[in-house]
């Protein structure tokens, strides 16, 4: 018995140790989350300077797109063109602005020193959209779409640090010229001419003379037309040709030019002149004969009624100057292409034809 106990006791102790070890091992195995390696990295000042260089380069792009739009709007405004549709205008200006913006991004952006060189992206397109305030076109918003991000990379002691920033640019460009251009498209000018003809030039005109002392007088077609010319402009002409070309033509041209007084104000000035105006007045028919009752104690009456078809066409040379603000642009006038603050001018020639 003593011998049995002598062998069993160390075995029980050993067994207990093994059991305890197994229990402790099992518990730690269950609650352990894995091996953790700790490391401390010290990043030098480059990180902040790199972030600042990205911020500065974005501010550079935000400013560059403004200058690009100013220059594009200025250049396009002075070009010879025959369009004043706001949707077309903003597309043309945006295309030009894209080229100019890409000029600003050709070279790397330098911040503080040559060490921080930011790679600027090119822009694939600038999407414009008409901007309205209280249903009035005040300008357009643009979104410049880049081909890449803004990037900066630095190699130092075998470690490479790369930072990126989104390069999309949005800008709300105030360009009130668009509102005026919208009211001066070829279609709108046609409508205006049609309205003037409708309200000032009745299709049927009548001239009447009475009195026995006027028995010898005859009413020509020009006399019938002169009746309306006297009302519209206080003028009358001897020949039908003059009545049409000088009278009718002159009246419509001056009425269209009146638009400039209606739409101009202290902030926007509008000038319109009509080039190559063509007016025609076709006589559909004229009827009426003199009635002489003078011998019967009555009167002499001569009424002549004519039916006319009017038409008018011309080329409206339009020039708008936006005086609300001046913008810094490379001015085209002069030989040295100086940068000057200039008001935007928009010139166009819009053909229209009424009737």
């Amino acid at each position: 018995m003593n011998r049995k106990g002598f062998i069993a006791i160390p075995l029980i102790v050993f067994l207990t140790i093994v059991l305890l070890f197994t229990i402790i091992f099992g518990i730690s195995f269950t609650i352990s989350k894995g091996l953790v390696i700790q490391k401390t990295i010290t990043v030098q000042q480059d990180m902040y300077a790199m972030l600042n260089s990205l911020e500065a380069s974005k501010a550079y792009l935000d400013t560059a797109i403004k200058y690009s739009l100013y220059q594009a709007a200025y250049d396009y405004g002075l070009e010879e063109k025959h369009d004043s549709n706001p949707d077309n205008i903003i597309v043309k200006i945006s295309e030009k602005a894209k080229e100019k913006l890409n000029g600003y991004t050709k070279e790397n952006y330098k911040f503080l020193s040559d060490k921080y060189q930011v790679q600027l992206p090119s822009y694939s397109r600038i999407d414009p959209k008409i901007y309205k305030s209280a249903n009035i076109i005040t300008g357009f918003t643009v979104e410049a779409v880049p081909t890449d991000t803004i990037r900066i990379a630095l190699e130092k002691e075998g470690e490479s640090t790369k930072l990126e920033k989104q390069a999309k640019i949005n800008f709300n460009f105030q360009y009130p010229i668009l509102q005026l251009m919208d009211s001066l498209t070829s279609d709108k000018l046609k409508q205006k001419a049609d309205e003037i003809i409708k309200s000032h030039w009745p299709k049927e005109l009548v001239k009447t003379i009475t009195g026995c002392d006027k028995k010898s007088q005859r009413i020509e077609t020009v006399d019938v037309l002169n009746e309306q010319l006297k009302i519209n402009s206080g003028k009358e002409f001897k020949t039908f040709e003059d009545a049409v070309q000088l009278g009718f033509n002159g009246h419509i041209s001056s009425k269209i030019q009146d638009i400039q007084n209606q739409l101009s104000n202290n902030l926007i000035s509008l000038e319109i002149s009509i080039d190559d105006p063509k007016a025609t007045v076709q006589v559909e028919f004229c009827q009426g004969e003199p009635v002489d009752n003078c011998g019967k104690g009555g009167a002499f009456t001569y009424t002549r009624k004519c039916s006319f078809n009017y038409s008018y066409s011309g080329k409206a040379k339009i020039s708008i100057t936006d005086k609300t603000k001046a913008y810094p642009v490379k001015a085209l006038e002069g030989s040295d292409n100086k940068v000057l603050f200039k008001n935007f001018v928009f010139k166009t020639t819009n053909s229209f034809s009424s009737g």
């Binding site: 197994t22 195995f29 490391k39 990295i41 010290t42 500065a56 220059q71």
Partner: protein, 147 residues
């Protein structure tokens, strides 16, 4: 024979249990090591040591007055007739440079080419160059001095 072996019965049982436990222990150790080898976590503490170079110029250039950023105003100085259009805004920028200089207890100077100098700093001070766009498709470097 059976009487002799009778005394070793419990001992053999204990030995048997021990062998089983040792096998379990070895097996568990292998599982533990394999599991933990694939579950290594790296805790990295990043300590940034920085003097935040360029922070003031960036916030300065992004500041705005009258709907124009300082960068745009300073770039527009390239226009020959800038004084007629930027006079008041340049005054705001000048005041801002002065305030910042007082706050940092440093002299500060912002210069664009030979066209304009805002503030004042000794030539021996630290000097940085920052690209800015100019109207008409050009760019230049704005010089910022501190001492």
């Amino acid at each position: 024979m059976s009487k002799k072996l009778k005394g070793f019965g419990p001992l053999l049982m204990v030995l048997g249990i021990m062998i089983v436990l040792i096998i379990i222990l070895v097996f568990a150790t292998q599982v533990y090591v394999k599991t933990h080898m694939t579950n290594v976590k790296l805790e990295v503490t990043v300590a940034i040591e920085s003097d935040a170079r360029g922070s003031w110029p960036v916030s300065f250039l992004k500041s705005e007055t009258g709907g124009m950023s300082y960068m745009e105003i300073l770039g527009s100085v390239r226009a020959d007739n800038y004084n007629d259009f930027l006079g008041e805004r340049l005054k705001v920028i000048e005041d801002q440079v002065k305030k910042s200089a007082e706050l940092d207890k440093k002299q500060k100077e912002v210069k664009l080419e030979n066209r304009i100098v805002v503030g004042q700093a000794a030539s021996a001070g630290s000097r940085v160059l920052i690209d800015i766009p100019l109207p008409g498709g050009e760019r230049s470097s704005l010089e910022i001095k501190e001492d």
